[in-house]
Amino acid sequence: MSVAICVQELTKQYKDVTAVDNISFTVEQGHCFGLLGPNGAGKTTTIEIMEGIISPTSGQVIYKGKEYEGKKVDESLSQQIGIQFQHTALQDYLTVKETLSLFSSFYQHTLAQEQIIELCDLSDFLNRDNRLLSGGQRQRLLLALALINDPDIIFLDEPTTGLDPHARRNFWQLIKNIKAQNKTIILTTHYMDEAEQLCDDIVIMDQGKIIEAGTPLQLLNKHFSEVFIYLPAEQVPSILVEQNKWKKLAGQIEITTCDIEQTLTLLMNSKVSLAGLHVKSANLDDLFLHLTGHSLRGAK
């Protein structure tokens, strides 16, 4: 597997804030790479340095062996990358079709308009004014603009923020379709289910630093060997809770265990009803809480 992007000792210092603090990582060709972290972790700053939108204070980004030091990326590189920003307005009064034509004209090589319309499912609102698009339609159009030049590398900065669950799942399917074409995707998100669904590799950032990196499975295995069993509190005798030091959380008993079979045997032997029991493995949200001590979405 070849390296698509190599980020080396990247730092971005604003007046009295270090937004990105000496981070390094590599992105493999054809992988979906997730930059995770709470609001203000430095994800957007990192991705915008990689895109050439802002310049780093120090460090460098190497694309397929070609070094670039920030400022606007050179044209040959910008022909090969696609970007979907977290916050972007589109030109008012232009229709979806006109917007696609406008962006097509910027690139030497583009996908056929019919192809991009089908890929991003734009046909129902092709002649609609940009201002009248719903959140999901708008995100699909922005993704279409990111893909219009058939890029090798695609940056998606929190692409599903603000979308309803149905639109989010639709969007994930689009990204999976793109991923199937061996494109490299760099995704920032603070939705852990999104990262688990889409990302091959992740780095978790907090306060400008990388606090963990690897595949989701590697990281979860590294930090969590146990699973969580939940039972309604009224079904579990208090003495059993105290003896085993189980936690009582919002009307439920949380049992942390490395051996599910042994715990279930203990419960059944104690004549505890297993009605309402559910088992949960640790997820990336738990991992982040474990690593930083504060919740991923609630932070800052």
Partner: protein, 340 residues
């Protein structure tokens, strides 16, 4: 410069403007409304003061001027000229009512002007010993005189706000950031914005002029081509100024203030509403640094005096020089986003 990208942005900006019915309507309706209003307000003969052109072709006679027997009269404005032809031109268009050349003891009246007739009668005793000469010429109505000013002012607002405000809005809501991420260069983007606005401004100005011409039958001594050229140069210069003002700002409030600071002095000091002929030299000097002054003055000379581009080369050169300075500085300071 990639022409395909340039035309794509040019076309997109034009579509954006022409589909914005409120902006388009306003830019067409506002100058017509002003012209109708002013033609109505100044259609009467209510002005009480008379204007006399006082010509002294030789320096050193200022003392004699001050001592001349005419200057003490109330409600008579004396305007000093050094060029007799300029004064006679003004008289022929009824801008002034009498021309006196004290050195050669001659004076001119316009036999088509009632006010010229009256002012001659008022000063008949004092003009004894002066040779009477007469000339003719139709009156330039106020609406003819104010036309270049109103069109120029409309162009100014369209250029400054249509470029400055739009670029800052693009920057604020990250349209520029999105464009920066494409191969589009800053030069292509800026030149497309400039060309689009120039196209829009010239189209709307031609429509407004032609429409109003049907209504008012404007006075026109010069050539329409010369008027078009000076209009285009003025618009180009004002767009460049808009680009410079908007080169870095990300705040719509700030750009609103900056554009007002830029536009209001031009509206007051560029001779849009009234002539600066009698203004203090310091004010005239300030006005000379404002692009609208040269646009309005150049257009007015073409319309009312039949001047050619050669005759107004001073204004043409000033506009070209200012455009170069504004564009160079605008290009130097231009930033896609707030960070440079």
């Amino acid at each position: 410069m990639n022409i395909k990208r340039f035309f794509a942005v040019f076309k997109a900006r034009n579509i954006e403007f022409f589909r914005d019915k409120s902006s388009l309507g306003w830019s067409l309706f506002f100058p017509v409304l002003l012209l109708v209003g002013f033609s109505f307000i100044f259609s009467g003969e209510g002005r009480s003061a008379y204007k006399i052109g006082w010509v002294e072709t030789t320096k050193g006679l200022q003392g004699e001027t001050l001592k001349n027997p005419f200057t003490g009269t109330r409600y008579i404005d004396f305007i000093h000229y050094t060029d007799i032809d300029v004064a006679k031109g003004k008289l022929s268009h009824h801008s002034i009512d009498l021309v006196i050349v004290n050195q050669s003891r001659r004076y001119w009246v316009n036999d088509e002007s009632a006010k010229s007739y009256l002012v001659e009668k008022i000063f008949s005793d004092k003009l004894e010993g002066y040779t009477r000469l007469q000339m003719s010429g139709a009156k330039i109505r106020y609406v003819d005189w104010v036309l270049p000013g109103v069109l120029g002012m409309n162009m100014m607002f369209s250029c400054l706000f249509g470029v400055g405000y739009v670029i800052v809005r693009y920057r604020k809501n990250a349209v520029l950031k999105r464009l920066k991420a494409t191969p589009l260069t800053a030069f292509e983007f800026v030149s497309a914005q400039l060309s689009s606005r120039l196209f829009i401004v010239m189209c709307t100005s031609i429509i407004v002029y032609s429409g109003c011409n049907l209504l008012f039958d404007f006075f026109m001594l010069g050539s329409y081509f010369d008027l078009f050229i000076i209009g285009m140069l003025g618009a180009f210069c004002l767009i460049s100024l808009g680009l410079l003002v908007a080169s870095r700002s990300k705040s719509e409030e700030l750009i609103g203030g900056l554009l007002n600071v830029t536009s209001w002095p031009m509206m007051m000091l560029s001779g849009v509403w009234f002539s600066l002929e009698g203004a203090p030299p310091a004010l005239k000097l300030i006005a000379d640094f404002l692009p609208l002054t040269h646009l309005v003055a150049g257009a007015r000379e073409v319309i009312t005096e039949g001047a050619t581009l050669g005759d107004i080369s001073y204004h043409v050169n000033c506009l070209l020089l200012m455009s170069s300075v504004f564009l160079s500085l605008g290009a130097y300071f231009f930033s896609w986003n707030a960070e440079r």
